[in-house]
Amino acid sequence: MRDVAIIGVGMNKWGELWEKSMRDIYVEAALLAIEDAGVDHIDSMYVGCMTSGLFVGQEHLGSLMADYLNVTPIPATRIESACASGGVALRHGFIEVGSGMSDIVLVGGVEKMCDVGGGEATYALSTAADQEYECYQGVTFPGLYALMAHRHMHLHGTTQEQLAHVAVKNHDHGSMNPLAQYPFKVTLEQVLSSVMIADPLRILDCSPITDGAAAAILCPLEMAKKFTKKPVVQIIGSGQATDTIALHTREDMSWLGATARAAEVAYKMAGVGPDDLDLVEAHDCFTIAEICVIEALGLVDRGQGGKAAESGLTALGGKIPVNVSGGLKAKGHPVGATGVAQVVEMVEQLRGEVGERQVEGARVGLTQTMGGTGGSTAVHIFRRV
């Protein structure tokens, strides 16, 4: 494998983008990444997207996006792994550049979720769970994470207040990110008095429905300086893993086995461990998710994730800042774009470009994104060269 660098990233403001089409949202992010990288062409493209068919009635995104980005006839491949689509797309770009098959690869992610109503969006997202043996019973995505939350509370004594602290922290971070959908702070009282969606998860425990895209440009590390004068960020580890699709078949329903496995593989490839990380972008689709993820990544002991946000461990300025971008919670969660947007934040952090939410001296960081209730996961580790 060749060493692989990320030389450009791009992302626009996320939110309810009524005036923009899915293709325009994607092309805007892709153009920003191309400009940031200083490349004059791309050789291949991956598009992470979960379910454009259900959200806007459009599949075949490889062709659509290559066409509107004006890069035909390059190969362009749509990658689907539910909410992990963007992270898995990055892995495939990494493999393609690493293998020597292509030199300059654009990895993008997109989801246009706000064109449909709430019930349809709930249904579209639920297709990441087992349709026949979970969704048939009327369970929703917040519902499935609520099942994990109650199990975590039962086994480990995690509290609703501890869940709420994750939301407070990530909104604190997100208030410093102008591209976030909800760049404002929330108080513990606001989270704990917000409307219940699926007990014990309230609306402010949930990430929002978002339109958005993000993109990154990969190239061989040895070529990176030809294109960019900015600090170069290298992908030093990549792990991907699966778990059972139905939550109920997992021995411990509060443990993310695929995330633990993907992290183990990525740490090994990178030659680093949890203590070497300066920051983490984790898949906080719900507050309980961040708690379970930081356990699976080895940032805290198993069962101890609930205390992390409450104690300040995972806040900016803490021992291991998690989701300084605002996370899915405040930044938004256009599902196919999320894994790539984590990379945008990581690269800008490692280049020292993000202003007041900068993790001082950040050199090594990790991104983690997962599909469904954790049935698929992609973990990547990055280092400033």
């Binding site: 249904y123 019973q137 929703t140 519902g143 609520a146 099942l147 199990r151």
Partner: protein, 133 residues
Amino acid sequence: MSTSARYWRGIPQRYRLEANKCKKCGQTSFPPRLVCPACGSREFEATKLPQTGTLLTYTVIRVAPSQFVDEAPYAVGVVELDGGTRITSQITDCSLDAIRIGQKMKVEFRRIRAEGLSGIICYGYKCAPVAVQ
């Protein structure tokens, strides 16, 4: 959003809890599988799930998917049936405030939902707490 063929295929599981049991290691799979998740064997015998078990976790769905909007709020949980097989199921016949992890549960046959305005009525299993003696 299921077709009648898709619904019909699920009837043995939804109406009768039909599962399969690995001939090699004894693991029960619900729904029946072609490859045993415990040992990789492909030899099975037919079995049915027990109809009593224990509640492992639950939630109350207050914002429902479109097909269940009229039912909300309703409870959903994971029940570990006697013998260890688990199902995700609605919890019925009890007050939403009275649900507790560890409760004994029994499986009931119930109406689950209607498929759209003129679609079929879908049936299946729900779980109810066993009254404490």
